[in-house]
Structure formats: structure tokens, C-alpha cells
């Protein structure tokens, strides 16, 4: 239990806001630049065996002019789900890739890039057309954006 509280206070030290996703997932709102630092800190202090990245969810918040990225992390061994939430400007959604320290981020970064247009700096595997058919790629369409027209 004591180790779990430490992980939460580590996350709290980076967060600029908090929230909850039902049923009971704690959300830590952080700056985009903090994401890589948080993963680095978790690995340094607690090791690779202390968590895994379950999924990376991108959402187009068109009315607010932002693209929201949620990193869903499962803390081990308690298997508790927490969320690292950050917002990127919609006109230029760029963030550092974490694939060099956490290879398991590959699936999420590939998908979020192809479907929403987020650029993960430092990920050499990003390419358009990994999921989206080529006729939409040629038009430069990101299907999950609210103004994509598909």
C-alpha cells in the first residue's frame, strides 16, 4: 500500500489538475512536456515491472481547439487504472514519442497518428496509411477529426 501511495504522489507532483473517469479511474491532468518525464520517473523509481501502458486515446475537441490525449496506465501489482491526460493545440498537435523508453507505446502512437494526425516526435515507424485507406490519405484526411467529412 505504501508503494502505491508513492506512485500517486509522484503523479500528483506533475499534475495541474485532477478528475475521474467512471467507474473510478483517477485522472491526472498534465502538461504535454511532462508525459515523457512521468514515464521516465516511473521506470527509474519503480522499474518496468511496476506498470504497463494499456492504451492511448486521442479525442478531437474541436470546439475547444484542442486534441486531448489520454494515456491509460495500469499500476502493478494492484492492477489499478489511472489516466494521464494532456491537451495539444489542434492546429499543431505535436508531442514527444515515448517509444524509446516504452516500446509498448507503438500500437497507440501509430493509430493516433494515422486517424487523428498527432505527430509523435522521435517515432520512426509513423506512417500514413497504416490503417486509413489510400484514397483518404491522398486527400490528407484524418477520419476521426470532427471536420473530416467522412
Amino acid at each position: 500500500m505504501a508503494v502505491e501511495m508513492d506512485k500517486h504522489s509522484l503523479l500528483e507532483s506533475f499534475s495541474i489538475g485532477k478528475g475521474v473517469v467512471k467507474p473510478n479511474r483517477k485522472v491526472y491532468i498534465v502538461e504535454p512536456g511532462s508525459i515523457k518525464k512521468i514515464f521516465h520517473a516511473l521506470i527509474e523509481k519503480y522499474g518496468y515491472e511496476s506498470f504497463y501502458l494499456s492504451t492511448l486515446i486521442g479525442t478531437d475537441l474541436k470546439d475547444e481547439g484542442k486534441i486531448r490525449l489520454d494515456y491509460y496506465v495500469i499500476l502493478l501489482p494492484e492492477e489499478e487504472t489511472i489516466v494521464l491526460r494532456t491537451h495539444l493545440p489542434r492546429e499543431n498537435p505535436v508531442i514527444d514519442s515515448i517509444i524509446d523508453i516504452l516500446p509498448g507505446a507503438l500500437a497507440g502512437e501509430l493509430e493516433t497518428h494515422d486517424l487523428l494526425g498527432v505527430v509523435f516526435n522521435g517515432n520512426p515507424f509513423l506512417k500514413r496509411g497504416a490503417f486509413v485507406p489510400s484514397d483518404l490519405v491522398e486527400k490528407g484526411v484524418y477520419p476521426l477529426r470532427k471536420d473530416s467529412g467522412v
Binding site: 467512471k22 479511474r25 518496468y48 511496476s50 506498470f51 486515446i57 495500469i74 502493478l76 516500446p103 497504416a130
Partner: protein
């Protein structure tokens, strides 16, 4: 680089000539080999992309229950269940106990049939065709049970907000119980074969042994993770539906090789059979598990929910966001276990022989009905030829 092996997503022939292929078809796994040793792996995606997340934004919350059930035919009950539970979280509306028990029964029957399928396929790949036929025959019993419970052999369409679509009576309950009791000794027999038969043990033991740290740093889930000692199971951690009340064990092993991955699945089948028998024995009678459809709310309040379910292949998660402005969801995100297990598993093939590649692939439980024929490009001899996945596994390449 002497050989390049391309494992396609579809069963088709690619007309490539003796030179380097000009026509690239969407292959799932491209393996580069030096002689027999795998030195590099590329994993490609997107062939099955049907744009489901966007489609969900265009249909109402209730219609989406049928769409998400068709993401995967083999595990359609869990997809429908986790989506429906996300809606129930947003609506703050929960099913009664009988409905929860019936939901768990449907999902456990699905786990049994899916695990039997992949074990049969693994037997077929290493050349043990008789075992494949036997397991598939016993699996038909499970399909019959699914049909008795949900009305459909494959597609259950069983989940709805607030409960399930149909109830079972005493006769169905006893028929289901008979099927599970007949199935149990057969599964114990198959588990014994996998433990003792040399045809299997020689091909599976020590193949692609991965550590606890490999699993967590690559985000692998499900039986693949549990076979390396990582004790993760959404049923035990989230305790959704009736899993808080039904006793079961989370099966883990420490060997971490392909054999352990298949054995975890057999042990889980036995656990599921016990759970099924417990459910049929202790089915609560606290009311009609089928809610009144006309009473369900049409307008959804704003909110977001993230639900997880333990699909046969691993942790399956759904994120549903409602903006409260209409009848359609604002965002639905589906993360299937295969996305993590297949895309992030390239490291598992390195330094193994070509004949082990199909075995490792099958131990991850991908949608194997899509992949049968493999193209081998021999760069030294400047030839290319087609072989069956079975021939690759048999070393006849």
C-alpha cells in the same frame, strides 16, 4: 539476408517474380531470415480497418451495441458487454443479479470456444491434424450451448442496457449443465495430451521465452502475459458483473514460453467450466433479467466511462464519451487485445528459427482464420514460392 518470409493477412497468391517483389500486398508479418535464423521482423496493419470508431459516432448509442458486436465474431459477447457496461456507467443504471450471472455465463462459454479454437489451430500448425479434428468436434458442443443460451451459434447479440435479451428456463438450465459436464473430461484429456505428448512438447517448450519485464514494457495482455507470471486479469481487478461473487482463480505460469501460453488457456477453460457449473447451480431469482426496452432513456447525460473486460485474448477496453447533446456518442475508442499483442510483439521472433515463427504467432492468438498461405522469397536463389503455414512450421522451407 538470405530469406524473406511474408505471412499474409489473406489467403491469396501474390504474383511475384524471381526478382524482388514489385507488388506489395498487405502482409501482416514480414520476417527476414539469415539461413534459418530470424534477424528482423516487420509488422503491418490496417487490412481489417473498417472505420468502426467513426461509424459509432454516426449511429445512436443503442444501435452501436450491434455494431460493436461485429468487431470480432469470435469474441462478440465481450465486446457487446464492455460497451453496454460503459453506457450503464454513464446512465447510472445497472442490471439485476440474475442478468449479471447470465452475462458471465455467456462470456465464459465464449472463452471456452475461443481457447479450444486456438489450441486446435496450434495442433494443426505443428502437424497434429487428428487432434485438430477432435478438438473442433468437441467445440461443437460449446457452440450448441451458446445457441441454447443466447440464440446464436456465433453472434450472441445477447447484451442490452440493463440486462440481457432473454432468460433461461429450467429445461435450458439442465441442458447447459449436461453439456458442461460432458465437456469437462474431454478438456482434461486434451490438457493431458498437451502436457505429455512429445509431438507437442518438443515443438512448444522453450520457444520464445519472454520475461515479466518483456511483457509489461511491451504492453502484452491476456494469456500471453499470464504465462510469464504477470498476474493481470480484468475480471479479478474490476470485478464487473457477477465476478465479485463467483469464485475463480487467475491462472498464471512462470515458464513464459509458447507451451506455457497454451497451457494457461487449457487451465482457463477448466476454470470457465467450473464457473459455468457454479452459475447454473446458484442462479439468482431476483427478477426478470430482461429490462423493458421502452423504458430505457433516449437522452444520455454528458459523461465519460472507461470499462475493461477480460476477453479470451486479453484485456479489452472501451472508452465512451457522451457530450449530452444528442443520441450519438461523441467518441468511442476500442482497444482490442490483439492490437497490443500483435503489433508490439515483433521482438518475440528474433533469433528463432523460421519453423518456430508460426508456432509463436499462434501462441499469441491472432485471428488465424485469415492467414494460411505464406510467401517465401529466397534472395540467394532468386526464387519465390508459396507454402502453407504448416509447411513453414514443419521446416519444409
Amino acid at each position: 539476408m538470405s530469406k524473406v518470409v511474408e505471412i499474409p493477412i489473406v489467403t491469396t497468391e501474390v504474383p511475384i517474380g524471381p526478382q524482388h517483389p514489385a507488388l506489395h500486398e498487405p502482409i501482416m508479418l514480414k520476417v527476414y531470415a539469415e539461413g534459418e535464423r530470424v534477424v528482423r521482423v516487420e509488422i503491418n496493419t490496417g487490412y481489417n480497418h473498417r472505420g468502426i470508431e467513426k461509424l459509432c459516432e454516426k449511429n445512436s448509442f443503442y444501435r452501436d451495441i450491434f455494431i460493436v458486436g461485429r468487431v470480432c465474431g469470435i469474441c462478440n459477447a465481450v465486446h457487446a458487454n464492455v460497451y453496454v457496461r460503459a453506457l450503464e456507467q454513464i446512465l447510472d443504471l445497472y442490471p439485476n443479479k440474475r442478468a449479471q450471472y447470465l452475462r458471465v455465463l455467456a462470456m465464459e462459454l465464449e472463452r471456452i470456444h475461443s481457447h479450444m479454437l486456438i489450441n486446435a489451430v496450434m495442433a494443426e500448425i505443428i502437424g497434429f491434424e487428428t487432434l485438430f479434428m477432435h478438438i473442433m468436434l468437441d467445440r461443437e458442443k460449446v457452440m450448441k450451448a451458446k445457441e441454447i443460451l443466447t440464440g446464436g451459434r456465433v453472434m450472441a447479440d445477447y447484451m442490452m442496457v440493463g440486462g440481457v435479451r432473454r432468460d433461461i428456463d429450467e429445461e435450458k438450465r439442465s441442458r447447459l449443465r449436461d453439456i458442461l459436464l460432458k465437456l469437462k473430461p474431454r478438456v482434461e484429456y486434451y490438457k493431458k495430451i498437451f502436457e505429455e505428448d512429445e509431438t507437442i512438447t518438443k515443438r512448444l517448450i522453450d520457444v520464445s521465452r519472454i520475461s515479466y519485464r518483456d511483457v509489461t514494457s511491451h504492453g502484452l495482455v491476456g494469456p500471453v502475459a499470464r504465462a510469464s507470471g504477470v498476474k493481470i486479469d480484468s475480471r479479478a481487478s474490476d470485478k464487473y458483473d457477477a465476478y465479485g461473487e463467483i469464485p475463480f482463480n487467475v491462472v498464471t505460469r512462470n515458464e513464459g514460453d509458447s507451451w506455457a501460453r497454451m497451457m494457461v488457456r487449457w487451465d482457463e477453460v477448466l476454470e470457465s467450466i467450473e464457473m459455468g457449473l457454479y452459475i447454473l447451480e446458484h442462479l439468482p431469482s431476483d427478477g426478470n433479467p430482461v429490462p423493458d426496452e421502452k423504458r430505457l432513456p433516449r437522452k444520455f447525460p454528458p459523461g465519460e466511462a472507461y470499462t475493461r473486460v477480460e476477453a479470451p485474448r486479453g484485456e479489452l477496453t472501451y472508452y465512451v464519451m457522451s457530450d449530452g447533446k444528442g443520441q450519438n456518442p461523441y467518441r468511442v475508442k476500442i482497444r482490442t487485445p490483439s492490437v497490443n499483442n500483435i503489433i508490439n510483439s515483433g521482438f518475440m521472433y528474433l533469433e528463432h528459427s523460421l519453423a518456430d515463427v508460426p508456432v509463436i504467432l499462434a501462441s499469441l492468438d491472432p485471428c488465424i482464420s485469415c492467414m494460411e498461405r505464406v510467401t517465401v522469397v529466397d534472395l540467394e536463389k532468386k526464387t519465390s514460392y508459396k507454402v502453407h503455414l504448416k509447411d513453414l512450421a514443419g521446416g519444409r522451407v
